[in-house]
């Protein structure tokens, strides 16, 4: 079985919802659609308070090269446009829609499926960009930008990321089991954009045998390889996945296309298929609602903009013992400060957790056990980075490879002294960036 070379850990899998089919959540009473659902500049709202919008209508346009369109997830009336808490941990401009209950598509959208082979490459790219498709694994990089790499780079391998290495999360797993045809078509569209010569691979961790079987049936006749990967965290990180499948190493300052690779998430492939063949913008996604403290853990298909509090109510409410709500997986996800935050295009999971006794609050000194060094998949020395960050020495920390850290959290997980290694590195990244800005100003 293939895997990446250095580091990695194996936390308890806790895939409580892997056998549960995706349910569609009913329309909530209000939707808070954030304008910042992707990497890069937030979209510019193009609707006013009181406007009537149709399902799928454009409500925010991409502002700049690295940005993405945002669409109305349902038909209704705009109630407000104001800053609102965002699951990323800040406030962002948000459009509030009161649904009219009709859920009526705007004309020309959600059309019957057409064959993508009839469309030109420019038309395919335009449809993907217009539909606001972004990477749905977590980072939210606009797919239209990712699919048009610089002219001098040749892409020879297109990888679909079905590793889903985070504990608890099963959203991609369920999509692979339930919609293998859409995934295969989405991948075919991506390879078509690169002359169809690129090798197409889907990487899946070995703990999802049903997904491997479902995809094999549909993918192998089309010449798409299915690679079973070892169950190991962080197998689904872009750099680690490229290493595991092709054996190439993406070095500091390089992007995957420098090594001829292109990695997309499973959910993104489905969104690309929907955008190209059905003219359907990205307005909903599959979210895993899990954790020990939610009464009925399940996978649900929710509209973008649904508030976490409504999702908790739909899933049988959380218990009184809940003291942490995390968006994303437990390793890289973010703890939330409010249940008013909405689902965005990048929310892969919502976890309701009781971590009393497990908090990382009591940081102790480093005992030089070097477990973080063994665990780091990027060949860094996390203890050294954290110590340097504590000393606020932002010059040396660059030399120790701070920018190579992908913040996967393996080091914090294994640290016996409960040190906040990743948080210190993130802290240093923010302050080093500020320092550079001030110096250049």
């Amino acid at each position: 079985m293939k895997t990446f070379k250095t580091g990695g850990i194996h936390p308890p899998e806790q895939k409580l919802t892997s056998g549960k089919a995706v349910e569609v959540m009913p329309l909530p009473p209000e939707l808070a659609v954030s304008m910042s659902q992707h990497l890069g500049k937030p979209a510019k709202p193009v609707v006013k308070v009181g406007d009537e919008v149709g399902k799928g209508q454009l409500i925010g346009t991409a502002d700049g090269f690295i940005s993405a369109n945002v669409h109305a997830p349902t038909s209704g009336k705009i109630r407000a446009v104001k800053p609102h808490p965002h699951p990323g941990g800040q406030y962002s401009m948000t459009v509030f829609i009161t649904p009219d209950g009709l859920d009526k598509w705007q004309e020309g959208l959600n059309t019957p499926e057409i064959d993508w082979k009839t469309l030109s490459k420019e038309e395919i790219l335009r449809r993907i960009t217009d539909a606001g498709v972004v990477g749905m694994g977590g980072a939210g990089f606009p797919s239209g930008v990712k699919l048009s790499p610089p002219k001098d780079k040749t892409i020879d391998t297109v990888i679909l990321n079905g590793a889903e290495c985070e504990p608890f999360l099963t959203a991609d797993h369920r999509v692979m089991v339930e919609e293998p045809e859409a995934i295969v078509k989405g991948l075919e569209i991506i390879t078509h954009l690169f002359q169809g010569k690129a090798r197409a691979v889907i990487g899946i961790e070995s703990n999802k045998p049903d997904a491997v079987a479902a995809l094999k049936k549909h993918a192998e006749p089309k010449g798409i390889e299915i690679v079973t990967l070892e169950t190991k965290y962080p197998q689904g990180a872009e750099k680690q996945l490229i290493d595991a499948i092709t054996g190439r190493t993406v070095n500091e300052g390089e992007l995957p296309f420098d090594k001829g690779c292109l990695v997309h998430n499973i959910g993104t492939a489905v969104a690309i298929f929907d955008a190209v063949c059905r003219n359907r913008p990205l307005i909903d996604r599959v979210v895993t609602v899990s954790g020990m403290e939610i009464r009925s853990a399940r996978n649900i298909r929710v509209l973008v903009g649904t508030k976490f509090s409504e999702i908790a109510a739909f899933c049988g409410s959380m218990t009184e013992k809940t003291n942490q709500v995390i968006t994303g997986g437990p390793m890289m996800g973010k703890a939330q400060f409010s249940l008013d935050v909405p689902v965005t295009k990048t929310t892969s999971g919502i976890l309701f957790i009781n971590n009393i006794g497990l908090e990382k609050s009591g940081e102790k000194t480093c005992i030089r056990c070097s477990r973080c060094i063994s665990a780091c998949p990027q060949n860094l020395q996390p203890w050294l980075l954290a110590n340097t960050a504590q000393l606020r020495d932002f010059e040396s920390i660059e030399l120790y490879g701070m920018s190579n850290c992908t913040e996967c959290g393996s080091c914090s997980y294994v640290c016996p002294s409960k040190r906040e290694l990743v948080h210190w590195i993130r802290f240093a990244k923010t302050l080093a960036g500020k320092r550079k800005q001030r110096q250049s100003a």
Binding site: K334, A335, Q336, E420, F427, T430
Partner: protein, 279 residues
Amino acid sequence: MYSETFIPAVASLGSLALVLGIIILFVSRKFFVAEDPTVSMINALLPGVNCGACSFPSCNQFAEELVRTRNPAMTCPVGGGELASKLGTALGITMAEPKPVTCVVLCQGHNGNARESAQYLGIQDCWAAAQTFAGTKQCRFACIGLGSCIAYCDFNAMRIENGLVVIDRELCTGCGACIPACPYGVLAMQEKKTERYFIACSSHDRGADTRKACDAGCTACQKCVKECPEQAIVIDNFLASIIQEKCTSCGKCIEVCPTKVNCILRVRDLDSVKSKKAS
């Protein structure tokens, strides 16, 4: 009887000390740097905390620059008027007197006023907390209260009290080192006055949101704007601010402010200015 053991030791080390002493004497004569005695005299007058408020990295460099240029506009905000007159007499020029300034906290959201949104368990540093979410308090403009600014204060004038940074006006010299240390820009500098009024709130949220998050927040109700006879209060983006040059310290704004805990603060600075000069 031990002479054969210690005589060679004393002799060799003694000769070594003699040779090295001669070298030191030679080097100190050869490479002697004449230092201007005025610089060291001026340096002795300066506070000597190297706070950087004068835009020089150290007090010594300020002294060197002052002696070299004899520029009367150069001021040490920490020393104030008293130091300016001392420097003036020492150099035989009339030095400009710096305006007495002080640091103010534009937030009253201590744990009694502001409501908490979530508990924060990570690194105890404001910048680390600010990147996880918009502060531990519901208000996204509030003082986080983890005290990253305290390390920047050379005069021990800051402390955290009940989740809010408090400035000791007797100790604050107005050097301004703490201002960039705050991720939310809660700290600001203000000129000292006999009686000074300012809005102690930074929240640009709409009135209803501000009130939900804090008892002492400015809700931009416009009452003080209408009341002010000098038109010294303006509201920008849901936050009032008092233009200090226009303010005549009549105190009418405080009477009409409808917030539960008054968001306008009155401070008497003159006493503290005087007591500093006396000491």
